[in-house]
Symmetry: C2
Subunit: 405 residues, 2 copies
């Protein structure tokens, strides 16, 4: 007998029929004697429907009222799921974020959870009930409804698992686990039984869209065992866990990539203190997020400075950089928005030399020119021309022996 937190996203509760099959999954777990807390998102399409109405009322809908509006989405799903469970003979009770009391700060539309009152949930579990909680939402200290932003239901689930000290937190999605890379690019990609939190974090931030980054960080921080599974099929999914437990002893766990990057370079910058902030300050002021940053040391008292941004921000960033170039008396600005980032991720590389050279050699053998390199303790990222994406992913997948057996 264990305590699980199950999280079902919008697609998993997108229709009356799907809500019923979610109820069946829960029913099965109850018959195994497990205690279940369920976190649900709004039915798919609902958030868009509500947002469209809001935009008809107000060009830029007020954040507070937007939260009031959108939080109804999960409230609908949670009550319908409880009814389905009741119909199957299970005792179940639903709670909004405010009713649980998931206390957040007051940053409407992107609030952060501060505290969870678990006493009602524990009482219900003790009484043999399934507890169904609205994902994505909370209340601030003044009782205002807040939301955690897109994907926030994952965070709700992890936070509840931490507060209740659950055995595992199951995130049900439309994929059946975390793969060594995207199976659409490399059909021989293999589902991982386990992956560490750090690796998952790198995979998530590098464009692997399985989980919201914040929920993975949260899970790591509070030692919540996270499992990614499919809502629509059977299977064990992928367990996201700690390095110390028996993780597969692979050097590399997976290959992530990101098609949404563009790079900008400013050359001939006078090599003086404060250069980086002068260049990136105006970019940050416009809320443009910068990903990789590289500065080369040049030999004539000047330096070259390169960074990547989201492809949608490329034109705006270039205009800003051209201004900076003039003001700094730098040489010129060049850019390229036909690039991709490919990364190998694995805790194994910490203790093994030669990973980087294997990566570079593999790409060289395929004639792929590396445009930028950036590394962290457990990942190596390279920027290459976008036409090489598939070739790079497949050759690295093979070189690091990730293929399914």
């Amino acid at each position: 007998m264990a305590l699980f937190v199950y999280k079902f996203g919008g697609t998993s509760v997108g229709t009356v029929e799907r809500i019923k099959s979610v109820a069946e999954k829960i029913s099965l777990a109850r018959k195994n004697g497990d205690d279940i807390v369920v976190v649900v998102s709004a039915m798919s399409g609902e958030t868009n429907r509500l947002t469209a109405m809001a935009k008809e009322m107000q060009a830029q809908p007020t954040d507070r009222e937007m939260d009031v509006l959108l939080s109804t989405g999960e409230q609908v799903s949670m009550s319908l799921l409880c009814m389905a469970l009741h119909e199957m003979g299970h005792d179940a009770c639903s709670y909004t974020g405010g009713q649980v009391r998931i206390l957040t700060d007051s940053s409407h539309t992107k609030a952060r959870i501060q505290e969870i009152d678990d006493h009602r949930l524990r009482d219900d579990l003790d009484a043999g009930k399934v507890v169904v909680v609205a994902g994505f939402q909370g209340v601030d200290e003044h009782g205002n409804i807040t939301t955690l932003g897109r994907g926030g239901s994952d965070t709700t689930a992890v936070a509840l698992a931490a507060a209740l000290n659950a055995d595992e937190c199951h995130i049900y999605t439309d994929v059946d686990g975390v793969y060594t890379t995207d199976p659409r690019v490399e059909p021989r990609a293999r589902r991982l039984e386990k992956i560490t939190f750090e690796e998952m974090l790198e995979m998530a931030s590098l464009g692997s869209k399985v989980l919201q980054i914040r929920s993975v960080e949260f899970a790591g921080k509070y030692n919540v065992a996270l499992r990614v599974l499919s809502s629509f099929s059977e299977g064990q999914g992928t367990l996201i866990t700690y390095e110390d437990s028996a993780v597969e002893k692979a050097l590399i766990s997976g290959i992530a990539f990101n098609r949404d990057e563009a790079k900008l370079t400013i050359t001939g910058v006078p090599d003086l203190p404060g250069v980086a902030s002068k260049i990136l300050g105006p970019i940050a002021d416009q809320n443009i997020e910068v990903d990789m940053i590289i500065q080369n040391i040049a030999d004539d008292d000047t330096t070259d400075f390169t960074f990547t941004v989201h492809r949608n921000d490329y034109q705006r960033a270039k205009v800003l950089l051209d201004q900076v170039c003039g003001e700094m008396d730098a040489k010129q600005v060049t850019g390229d928005d036909a690039i991709v980032k490919v990364s190998i991720v694995g805790v194994g590389m910490r203790s093994h030399a030669g990973i980087a050279s294997t990566m570079f050699k593999t790409l060289a053998e395929e004639g792929i020119n590396i445009r930028m390199i950036s590394t962290s303790e457990i990942k190596i990222s390279v920027v290459v021309d976008e036409k090489y994406l598939e070739l790079a992913v497949r050759s690295l997948h093979k070189a690091f022996d990730l293929e399914s057996k």
Copy 2:
């Protein structure tokens, strides 16, 4: 400068455009310097949409979860209305029943308001904000979401007006006031400037569908001045007020009618104590509501007993009564479901004799046979064959001089 509570029903907030025109009405009042608290219902159609989904989940949806589900309807309307007000430059803030803290008992789907915490609303009004509150809903002492039942938004509005000591409570509907009778039956029906609470209560309970009865009772109890107006046109509507204030000095204020009645008679009942409860007990046990009750004294130790029920309950009631007839050794059961009830209502009849005789004479002159009579202090009801409904209403409307001048 006054404080008004405005209530808008589902039709008045049924589309994005209608919500915008509600916002314009409020905007106008703000420009006059008035403080406004708004109570909104769910957008028309929304409650039916949600109920249909619930019934797909569970044959008889659980009351608690039904309340969780349906209460999202007003939450959507209230946030959209606030956005529309913001777009017009007004400061506005929305609250669910739970956020205000409209405390109710725990009778899900038909809860009763016990207490209203007005401090957030007063703070907002003091700060120059329009306050928008979800109608129809509250929370019980354990924080469970409750609803007040169909039409409960009127009750919310009246209760808020009472708690805030508002100058008037405006109920915006799709009619522009209370009429002397239904204009579809008598085109010369006249809008009343004023009507007393007691008269309104009789009019409402007799089938005049303008206001929910409970809200009128509530308004009377807490001395809230209630005004019924149209959402879609200008005008002063009808003020529902106390007898002591300057009510029009008509003998009769209006003529109400109810097409949904059926009558049942049991004859030859042994005239013994406890007869009425023996007859009506089984009817009440089946939750069949009885309206008029008449017992005639007969001359041979037996009595005749007649009552009316809703036409939908006629067959069920007849079966029950046939059983009772056998058990009591009464003579026989007869019934008629092609009858209507027509009533004249007015506080003036308290102090004026001859009202009843004028009514009976008027009907007799038209050849209308009266099948039952029942009276209260401020109304006289008669049951007639349904084919006479229009004739009865129009001849009484003329006889009591109710026509528009």
